[in-house]
Amino acid sequence: MAPEALADHLLERLGKRVVDHVIQYGQLTVTVAPEALPSAVQLCRDDPRLAFDFFDFMTGVDEREDGFAVITHLYSVRHRHHIQIRALATGGRDEPRLPTISHLYAGANWHEREAYDMFGVVFDGHPRLLPRILTVENFEGFPLRKDFLLMTREVKPWPGLKEPKAVEDTDGEGDGEGAAPATGPSAEDKARMAREKAERAKAKAAEARKRRAQEQAVAAPADSGAGDAVEPDGDAVERPEGAGDVGSEKQAQMAYSTGDDERAGEPEGAADASGEAIAKDAAAGAVGGDTAAGASGDVPGAEQPGTDPAREAELAAGADAQPGGTPGVEAEGRHAGADDQAGDRPAAETPGMVSGTQDVEPARSADDVPAPADDGGTQAPQPPRGPGEEEPRALAGEGVGSTPLADEQGPVVGETYTEDPEQRRPVGTDADDRLRDLETDVDEEDGR
């Protein structure tokens, strides 16, 4: 039977028990209510027009907040057609349960044990789910859940894609990721590099403090404006999804969140020049965007920057340099845009930084960054980020041993450049990464 005819037939026979059905790539997937799984499977087996006699496989799929779905694939040797029966386990992520089908197909026994072992889905009525079929007896956790992190990935960065983050994890605990101790260079080298770096950092910090004192009055009201603009796109409801997403986007997003925090709250004792730049850019972006686009119009601090003509000119320059820098765009990039890579890199920030902080080297222009071929989005330079923050190290990890690979990773390429002007070079060698680890460490200490 063709998938369409199959679907019609099943809908007719199962009625309300079918929740949904999809035909994709010529394959029919029927979603049934969890309690109806055994009866649906039995119908598929016993109905002579269906006659699914071959038990192919059964597997769990992590469905994020919805918990876990279990897919049962059946095939009919007689009619040569396939079906996938999908049921969402009841009990969410905490206690996923489904009725067993192991009495219908002998092969389902082991597959249910595997689904239990890997996802923790309990099959009611299964003769014996324990001992765990693939993992060891006293294994803790269910390895194929997305919130189960690989141990190697927890202790050291990984050259490929980052480990999927826990779904519930909203507070960006990427701290563990880059926490690998910097080993390698001799103690002398370390000390020398640390000294040099400390000097540079001190100079920058002093500069930054001076500037912040001047600009705090300007930045604070504008910040509230930016915060308002952020709200509609990036409310807390959106976050878990982004947090549950896999990969470097998530990393980037976390870094941005850090930037947000710094901006929204008062930038407490931030010693790094770039952190300052962020705060100021937020102001620039918000104000510039608001005045240019007239967005929402009710920004309380919109007038205030006007009291400082010099600053206003600077802001205008920042806004003009990148008209796309409306707060809305930024907000989307930071909060809701986890699945949109282009959105992850707020376009407005770097030009703002360049115009705002004169002591920083000119930002790497878009041409310098190898453009990904298939990424339709805007190619924007890496947004500024404080050297004391987590991201550079995480990215350094991403670059380890992956120089040829990084070349083909497209959108990620832009992120292998760190924002600190002195570190603006491609990562990829161990020495570079170790150096950066040292540098960032020193910055942190110096700043607090």
């Binding site: 006699d53 002998a106 194929l144 894609l161 896999v246």
Partner: protein, 399 residues
Amino acid sequence: MTETTEPMLSQPGGANVVPGPPGESMLVEVRGEGELSTQDMSLNIGPQHPATHGVLRVVIDLDGERIARATPVIGYMHRGFEKLAEARDYRQIIALVNRHDWLSSFCNEMGVVLAVERMMELEVPERADWIRVLMCEWTRVLNHLMFVGSFGLELGAITPVFFAFREREDIQHLMESATGGRLHFTYNRVGGLKEDLPRGFLAASEQMVRNVRMRTQEYRDLLQGNEIFIARTRDVGVLDPQTALSYGVSGPPLQATGVAEDSRVTEPYSKYGQIDVHVPVGTNGDSFDRFMVLVDRIDASLDIIEHVLGSIPPGPVTTKLPKVVKAPEGAIYVRTENPLGQCGYYLVSDGRKNPWRLKMRTPSFNNVAMVPHLLEGALLSDMIAVLGSVFFVVGDVDR
């Protein structure tokens, strides 16, 4: 089993108990007129038994010489491939899937690249498609030779394994010349192949087909008519088609029951639709049939290779790919007929460069799940003939 023994001890229940042979604590219960009945005994086979092709452990409860219950204990080689695949991009996954069934590496690759290509709607160049079929069949021959040799070895015939490995060595040389690998070829790429065949490969293949065809006759001569071999495999481990299907058994064990299910025929992928694939089937579903199906499958594969050698068109072997290979959002299931049975990949993509979920539906997992069914009630001495004829690779079971 009846034997007369003197009752030595009396127990309240009325049953008489005599101590077992010296050095064993097992007691033998004697009932009635001196009839012996034995206590159950658990026996560990493996995890290092040579007949298990890896580290499969079978816990066997014995009632006398009969197997009352057999429980395969798997997971000793579990390497978490499905988890690893979620953290790797599709090029890396090709190298990963090479390894769960190390005797069918090229066929494993096929499943993954087909899945990604179908999702991306990529057209593979004709030449690449034909070469894929060629390589698949050589891999199948390699795999089957291994099992033809080892099955004989397990039953006490040493010669077949030497013969089989002689051919395997030659074919591996051939494969190495094209792919650079001896076991893990990693010759597939999404959208085509790593590179074109080296000069002289087709001629060498032709020669090799003739060699191997001659040799398969030798295996038949060595084993098919061998009295001991027949005595040990005929009517041993008989599997009926309904049970096989219900367990999801595929490959030679299924075909030996008379079910001609082979996705190269029933759902042709790549260029199999244009080739006449012969699917050998058995009649009895016993160990002997399983073995003969295996040998016949070598010949069927050689036929396919001959067909392919005359059909490979000139042209490119790769397509231009985007810099980052991303499968669009959705789910797809692709099954291929691997040497050991039906191998399937259920790929769920969320649109990124690595899969959200990659389920490896491996033939050995389902086939080994069926083993307890075959062993129950069998004699312990038949266990090897049963285990050896299911043809599995433990890496493929555990993943």
